[in-house]
Amino acid sequence: MLKDKIIRYILASAASISVLVVLLVFYFLFKESFLFAQANGIKILLGTQWKPVSFFDPSFGVLPLITGSFLVTCIAGLIAIPLGIVIAVYLAEIAGEKEKEILKPLIEILASLPSVVLGFFGLVVLAPLIQKIFNLNSGLTALTGAVLLAVMAIPTITSVSEDALRAVPALYKQASLALGASRLQTIWRVTVPAGLSGIVAAVMLGMGRVIGETMAVLMVTGNAPALTFSPTESARTMTATIASEMGEVAQGSEHYGALFWVGLILLFITFLLVAFSQRILKKYQNFKT
């Protein structure tokens, strides 16, 4: 009996490590960025210029980084969300069993592609292509990054949405078909609306992945921290800024603190996305049973 108790405690303490890690992540990001906020005030962060290494007048306005991330994420979403959902509907409702067995792994394999490999592909193949199509000086643009991120998000959106569509009770479809609706009408008026909450969760998970992605965007977006909304110009995201600048800053410097701030903002955005999508998925599971 004693042995059982001890083992129980060991397992419980192993489980509490996860809680501890989450707390530590939040604590360290707060701690390192708090020093910066204390010294400079939060106001400085709302500036429109990110010039951390300027000798006379360094400024740490994170606005261009946030808009950079926003721009790239939005374009990626515009590409990945419709494609991901259409593919999910096709796989779940239209494709034959055999066809699906071949197609599904070929799409899901994209999810296992390391982001640095995808970034490399973007650099070598996609960037020159975009440069040619839009007649630009450089192919390293927000659009290039967004296309790569869309490639990353599609497998997530597709597989979670497809699960949601499959979970829609067959009765619903049968009822619709029995009333004389065509397959197309049944799909768009019955199946997709019934699985909508799951699809929304899928989109959020996909977008969470996109906004947190680092290496691919670091390699192909050109990294100019400018306040722009043009997809064919260079953009710099929050993730790429941290990755490219952290190596060169002194610990405890203003710049160091500012980068932790950027990390903290990023952490909050992704945390909200995950929490929200989990809520929806949970509701959805209740609905299923």
Binding site: I109, P114, S182, M219, I242, Q278
Partner: protein
């Protein structure tokens, strides 16, 4: 006709368009892989795999990066596997509904959603600076371990829950204690499934760059690491450096493709192992 409802022209058109979209994305996926495989394959050679990079990365092989990735991944698994599996056993067998359970689940979900670069910042703040490990293998492994932990927990828990309840009840009815029941009647059946999840996370750890960027890797090292507190080279970072920082891009292009292919092959080999394991489990246990 398998379907009694009339197929209209719009329907045929719509389904055709959706098929086109699906096949186009599949084509893009295939193109990416085939491009890297065909251009990387001619570079692969014994010398490439076992040589040191020379002349600033313009020539030579990838041995230190390959070995570095191997070391980082092994270390990560040694740290993350016991913790992850223990957590999964606790969640599936011991935890009861309640606040503590909710907090645990929320934490695991949060961990799964944290961007990899934020893990890098966290590792830098905690392991590299606060614990004073410096940029080292140890700091890198610990950071990666935090990152893969949620994957291991979630997939292991699924495997544990798939073991039928009556196996547990039979053992408990015979008077076995809870732990004896888990050890003899649950774990042996769940273990292969738990390993599958862990193997998938190995693939992820091998391909990640952002967390080790700030905590473990070096641009170039003339010799192999000697201790846990040394920096290492790693395959994904090597590819990043080769393809963005090298002055003569066109000259090193073949080396870039070779490195990308090796990384891809590692991730594939690991994932195929997981898939193979999953299929063989399905054949072995049918409840």
């Amino acid at each position: 006709m398998s379907h009694p409802n009339k197929t209209s022209f719009t329907e045929t058109l719509c389904f055709g368009a959706m098929r086109l979209v699906t096949y186009s994305v599949v084509a893009v996926s295939l193109y990416i892989f085939l491009d890297i495989i065909f251009k990387g394959f001619p570079v692969l050679s014994w010398n490439f795999l076992t040589g040191f990079p020379s002349k600033g990365g313009s020539e030579g092989g990838i041995l230190p990066a390959l070995l570095g990735t191997f070391i980082l991944v092994s270390g990560t698994i040694i740290v993350a596997l016991p913790v992850g599996m223990a957590t999964a056993v606790y969640l599936s067998e011991y935890a009861r509904q309640g606040r503590w359970n909710n907090l645990l689940r929320l934490s695991i979900m949060t961990l799964a959603g944290i961007p990899s670069i934020v893990y890098g910042l966290f590792g830098l703040g905690l392991f590299v600076l606060y614990f004073n490990m410096g940029q080292s293998i140890l700091a890198g492994c610990l950071t990666l371990a935090c990152m893969v932990l949620p994957t291991i927990i979630v997939t292991s828990e699924e495997a544990l829950r798939a073991v039928p309840q009556n196996l547990r009840q039979a053992s408990l009815a015979l008077g076995a204690t809870k732990w004896t029941t888990i050890y003899t009647n649950v774990l042996p059946y769940a273990l292969p499934g738990m390993l599958t999840g862990s193997i998938i996370s190995i693939g992820r750890a091998a391909g990640e760059t952002a967390p080790i960027l700030l905590t473990a890797v070096a641009f170039f090292l003339p010799k192999l690491p000697q201790s846990l507190f040394d920096q290492v080279m790693a395959l994904p970072y090597h590819l990043y450096i080769l393809s963005t920082q090298h002055p003569d891009m066109d000259k090193v292009r073949p080396l870039q493709y070779g490195t990308a292919l090796v990384l891809l092959l590692i991730v594939f080999a690991v994932n195929s192992l997981a898939i193979y394991l999953r299929i063989s489990i399905r054949k072995k246990f049918r409840w």
